[in-house]
């Protein structure tokens, strides 16, 4: 994962909190999509419990992933497609570059793909002298600005139309406007030229179907369909978990994906791509390649505690309800996989110690699980990651995150075993707090390690006499 910039979660979050444009964009996003998705689940013909059925479908598929993938690959090869299993990002990139070199590709177009962000595809292509054009409007904006996506589905959510107006004036030399239809028209014109000139198209895969041998892509702009049909070569990249065994399962997951992603019953453009064009077909690429990426997923698959994370279909519904994401935005997570999904996936894929702030910097409120189209128990996974950090774990190469914190909880575990000791510490806190600054009875400033609390809030002091003390001395009886 070469493109990761391990930004300081806390510092980046603070920057986001102080950005009023971002704050209002995040609120709008969550009000629209968060609520819309909840409503869309309630309006499902099968009812909202279809999420539970989908969870079961994912559980079975992931448990049989080897066989399901074999079926997918056999069917795609039967249709004339070429398949490559990439052990890691480098292997995937090497395959993509070799394919591009073979066709002397100068310009590639790309449909929105998170997995391509995961492996750092754009950097690799540019490094090899190949121009790459993002064709999703949001991704196009981000690429022009030289930034990273801040949301899985709405990558440019952090930019206002004024930002985009200035960006377009600067980069594609149109007169400044902040009128969305005019900006969209300008992007469309610029992109149309890219589509017509491109020698190669890249896409991700929302959910493949093993039974029929298709990869399936969903978009609302038609750009993925153009990226995958206009150039002579189409390379699709998918995480190895993004597959349904049967078409009947696929139908359920696809309908839930669209609801989770954009509160839609169905995306505007859904393409089932099974290989290159047939001889007599006018449209479609001459070559179709599918890169199936592992990049750490086998390790997740092998651990029953974390396997559930592979059920994820990357719809971003959890981002649209997460109260933490809603305040800090996507960039704080240091990687395009952000929000609750990022908080679990990034530590698992790229190092639990390295991404510890992602899984610790969440409140465990559970809104993500209720929003998840496949009902992944994200809070359970966050807790399991925290357990690895607390005591270290050889299997996951995790070292203990904080020795002082371990010391505090060890001490705590002694105190809670003895009510007398517990009472002593309560009294100690009661005595200590008499030296702290107060306002109308509320403490204004706590000492470290609690000082963070009172940076933004006050706190009620410890009571003179605890409840248990009152009960014991008969004050309540």
């Amino acid at each position: 994962m070469s493109e990761i910039t391990t930004a300081d979660y806390i510092a980046e979050a603070k920057r986001a909190l102080n950005n009023p444009v971002l704050q209002s964009a995040l609120t709008d996003l969550q009000n629209r999509f968060g609520r819309g998705t909840a409503l869309a689940y309630r309006n499902l013909p099968e009812g909202p419990d279809l999420r539970l059925k989908a969870h079961d479908i994912r559980r079975k598929t992931i448990a049989n992933l080897d066989i399901v993938l074999e079926t997918l690959v056999a069917n795609i090869r039967k249709n004339g497609g070429q398949v490559f299993f990439a052990h890691d990002a480098d292997a995937a990139l090497e395959y993509c570059l070799a394919t591009a070199r073979r066709h002397q590709v100068k310009l590639a177009v790309k449909g929105k793909s998170m997995v391509s962000e995961e492996i750092g595809l754009n950097t690799a292509l540019i490094g090899a002298g190949i121009e790459v054009a993002e064709t999703d409007l949001g991704e196009y904006i981000i690429q022009l600005a030289g930034e990273r996506p801040s949301h899985i589905i709405a990558p440019a959510i952090h930019k206002s139309r004024k930002d985009i107006g200035s960006l377009f004036a600067d980069k594609i030399k149109i007169p400044y406007t902040d009128d969305p239809p005019s900006l969209t028209r300008a992007a469309r014109k610029a992109l149309r030229e890219k589509f017509l000139a491109a020698d190669m198209g890249f896409s991700g895969c929302n959910i493949a179907c093993a039974e029929t041998g298709h990869i399936v892509t969903v978009s609302n702009e038609g750009n993925i369909r153009m990226s995958t049909t206009m150039p002579k070569v189409h390379v699709a990249i998918m995480g190895m978990e993004r597959v349904a065994a049967r078409l009947a399962d696929h139908d359920i997951l696809l309908r839930l994906l669209c609801r989770g992603a954009a509160a839609q019953n169905m995306g505007t453009y859904v393409s089932y791509i099974g290989g290159p064009r047939y001889l007599q077909q006018v449209d479609g690429p001459d070559e179709f390649h599918l890169v199936i990426l592992d990049n750490g997923r086998s390790r997740i698959l092998a651990d029953e505690e974390f396997r559930e994370m592979l059920y994820c279909i990357r719809c971003a519904a959890c981002l649209n309800v997460c109260p933490v994401y809603g305040k800090i935005g996507g960039h704080s997570y240091g990687h395009p996989y952000s929000g609750p999904v990022g908080a679990v996936v990034m530590p698992l894929l790229a190092g639990i110690n390295r991404f510890k702030d992602l899984c610790q910097g969440e409140t465990l409120c559970g809104a993500c699980q209720d929003a998840c189209p496949v009902n992944i128990d994200i809070p359970r996974l966050l807790l399991a990651l925290r357990a690895k950090l607390a005591d270290g774990d050889a299997g996951w190469q995790v070292s203990r995150a904080s020795i002082p914190e371990k010391g505090i909880y060890t001490l705590w575990s002694w105190i809670v075993q003895n009510r007398r000791l517990y009472d002593f510490f309560l009294r100690l806190a009661g005595l200590g707090q008499s030296f702290l600054p107060k306002n109308k009875g509320m403490i204004r400033r706590l000492p470290p390690p609690m000082s963070g609390w009172t940076r933004g809030r006050d706190i009620q002091p410890v009571a003179g006499k605890s409840f248990v003390d009152r009960w014991r001395s008969g004050d309540i009886n």
Binding site: D370, L383, A387, D391, W453, V468, R470, W471, I476
Partner: protein, 243 residues
């Protein structure tokens, strides 16, 4: 379904015990009014949730075993916090999944542990406690109570029966206040920003009192109200129901 004549054993959340003992006292008054016998084990300390949520399972396990030792003889256990009940009901069985004998004991304790409003409404079948309150109240859904115990209607039913009080729903009542245990200290700026949003919603709804079922959230909300100098009261539901 539990027998309403059972003796209730009080499981006092540590925040209530040490910082808000008046919430526990209010709970006692409610049960007394309902004619229910009470026991309060005075050896109790903490259920272990802070350690569990921070990942320290060994330390949480120590607290959990002690809790089970103290409480397993109880007929029924009631706690004024959805978060602590979630710990006992959902996380104790997880803590002991590799230890059959403790797992069995954990499950038995979990099965008779209830959150206060859940116990009053679902088990005792009581909605009107004859409380009176002069004021406009709004209710904050605590995350663990709402999403782990699925308790949403019970507190609202109880609040709707309070005479003299007007009830207003705030916007995003079910959105996290930003407390999150040690999150509120470790990631204090994010936590405070979430609390500020919650307080904005409370102010916007026009209530003069915000009621909740968990002192963790209420302590957070109270701290933000105080820092902003906003004159809105926080009350645990036990306090308003005992009024």
């Amino acid at each position: 379904m539990s027998d309403p004549n059972k003796t209730v054993t009080l499981f006092i959340q540590c925040l209530v015990d040490g910082i808000y003992p008046e919430v526990g006292e209010a709970m006692v008054r409610i049960f007394r009014k309902l004619g229910i016998n009470l026991i309060c084990p005075t050896k109790q300390t903490c259920c272990g949730q802070p350690a569990f949520n921070a990942g320290y399972r060994r330390e949480a396990g120590v607290a959990a075993k002690r809790f089970i030792d103290i409480f397993e003889a109880a007929e029924v256990i009631v706690c004024p916090s959805g978060s602590c009940v979630t710990m006992v009901r959902h996380h104790y069985p997880q803590l002991f999944e590799d230890d059959d004998s403790w797992l069995q004991r954990a499950r038995q304790v979990a099965a008779k542990t209830y959150e206060l409003t859940e116990y009053i409404v679902d088990v005792l079948g009581v909605e009107d406690l004859g409380a009176h309150y002069d004021g406009t109240i709004t209710y904050h859904d605590s995350c663990h109570l709402l999403r782990n115990l699925r308790v949403k209607a019970q507190p609202r039913k109880l609040l709707s029966k309070i005479s003299g009080a007007e009830f207003i729903e705030m916007n995003d009542a079910d959105r996290c206040c930003g407390f999150g245990g040690s999150f509120s200290v470790k990631y204090a700026d994010i936590s405070a920003a979430m609390a500020a949003d919650k307080v904005d919603n409370i102010i916007a709804c026009g209530a003069d009192t915000v009621v909740g079922c968990d002192m963790g959230c209420l302590m957070n909300i109270q701290g933000m109200l105080s820092r902003k100098g906003v004159d809105i009261k926080i009350m645990h539901i036990a306090q308003i129901l005992a009024a």
